[in-house]
Symmetry: C3
Amino acid sequence: MLLTVLYLIAITAEAMTGALSAGRRGMDWFGVALIACITALGGGSVRDMLLGHYPLTWVKHPEYLVLTTFAALVTVFIAPLMRHLRSLFLVLDAMGLVAFTLIGCQIALDMGHGPLIAAVSGVITGVFGGILRDIFCNDVPLIFRRELYASVSFACAWCFLGCAYLGLGNEQSLLISLFGGLLFRLLSIRYHWEMPKFVYRDDPQG
Amino acid sequence: MLLTVLYLIAITAEAMTGALSAGRRGMDWFGVALIACITALGGGSVRDMLLGHYPLTWVKHPEYLVLTTFAALVTVFIAPLMRHLRSLFLVLDAMGLVAFTLIGCQIALDMGHGPLIAAVSGVITGVFGGILRDIFCNDVPLIFRRELYASVSFACAWCFLGCAYLGLGNEQSLLISLFGGLLFRLLSIRYHWEMPKFVYRDDPQG
Amino acid sequence: MLLTVLYLIAITAEAMTGALSAGRRGMDWFGVALIACITALGGGSVRDMLLGHYPLTWVKHPEYLVLTTFAALVTVFIAPLMRHLRSLFLVLDAMGLVAFTLIGCQIALDMGHGPLIAAVSGVITGVFGGILRDIFCNDVPLIFRRELYASVSFACAWCFLGCAYLGLGNEQSLLISLFGGLLFRLLSIRYHWEMPKFVYRDDPQG
């Protein structure tokens, strides 16, 4: 199934970005593996705990833990190469974001939730891995400052829900929102699209 | 029902304080909405996940997500006014703290837990929204340093449990602890009551 | 039962280290008690929420909350003495790590999970209390930088699983991995054993 293949690519790519974040903080190999697993599998775990959807994905498929840990350790060794693979990673990361989002939507719908909760479930699956990575590395989560990322996830979720509402088959809806989301994310990187920011100071003279 | 009305006022007020925190970090609109939802609904979500009380409030009532997101976006536009509304917000926030606490107590009691777990459930509901907000904004949680806040929540929970123990009706117990807690919080702000602090240094010469 | 006794010693010791961390940040007494409870009981709570193992330990045994809170408040008063007890605390902390790990393993096995999830459950129980403590105090989790800590937990879990696989009785397996893990941890402190670190810089000239 297409989504499973995309999911495996996505958790591998996310694990590698997590490992690089851990490397920026000079963590040891255990920390690298843990941050990689959290980045790759954390979004889905948060979704499952919020929705009460047990067992969690990695508990049911412990081989995913092996895959993400392996990807993390590979990253340690090929780190000097990573600088040259930035564009590849941006594409893989975009694919991951969209795949996570659609899987999150699908799971909430399968549990019988309405469209709003399905969209929220998609966004949580898509973005919480990165948020947890940043919290564990003690950064202000990047997602709140970067180009459209969560918004792509949100739009992609609604595109999928809209297609389903219009009576398109599940496979067609997935493909349309997959390519739509991917295109939207890559365009937003290319042209530095950003959401308006809200800057507030307590002291008006500050 | 009184508690529901207070709850709606409370999540709106908490969402607005969350949005201001996000604004202090210069987050984009998505970050503002997310931090607002976490501040308003995070305490209850943590409680429900710890107690295994599914579905979570906002999953059952997705309209609360709409309300908190809407409150966050309104805050972005009326931010310059917020400076003049500080006292109003302190009162709303105090009301929210007390309402959250009593709801948390009530839910734990309804699940059949004893008084200690009910009090803990009340305090978690009351204070974890703010703690999560500060962690997501990468601050040391404010609550650990400010005037009596968690202590008000704790006292309010025990007041409610005490009233129930003395055989007062549910409605009466709620009203007494509601006003007692509100008064306690406002007095503690007014007179800068604080808990003693524990300051520890590893190095005695430090 | 041996594990229960070790568990009680472990949560007391962990609560005291949590209280000292809170004191380093100058938190008030409520913050001290909260950080102590999170340090002592957080690892098990995260494990139970991830595995869907309800009710949580402290919900079933609220007296553990009383014990950890009490240990935290005692710490506030005997803090000046703590400097002289460092070696004692390192031993107690090592015992706690090993006891938490074995309990986490055992619970996952009792739920019918395979060895990989059991080992992960052990490590989560062993190390997440300290990770949460550091996140709540707004530090980069120490565990990612210190001598072998998580690795001891991991090795101890596999030792236990290996003994069980070899057909040893539950009690024997526990004792062997308990002493093995304790010895491994104390040796790693004594000789400053460390895992290799992964240091990554985005900018090669940086």
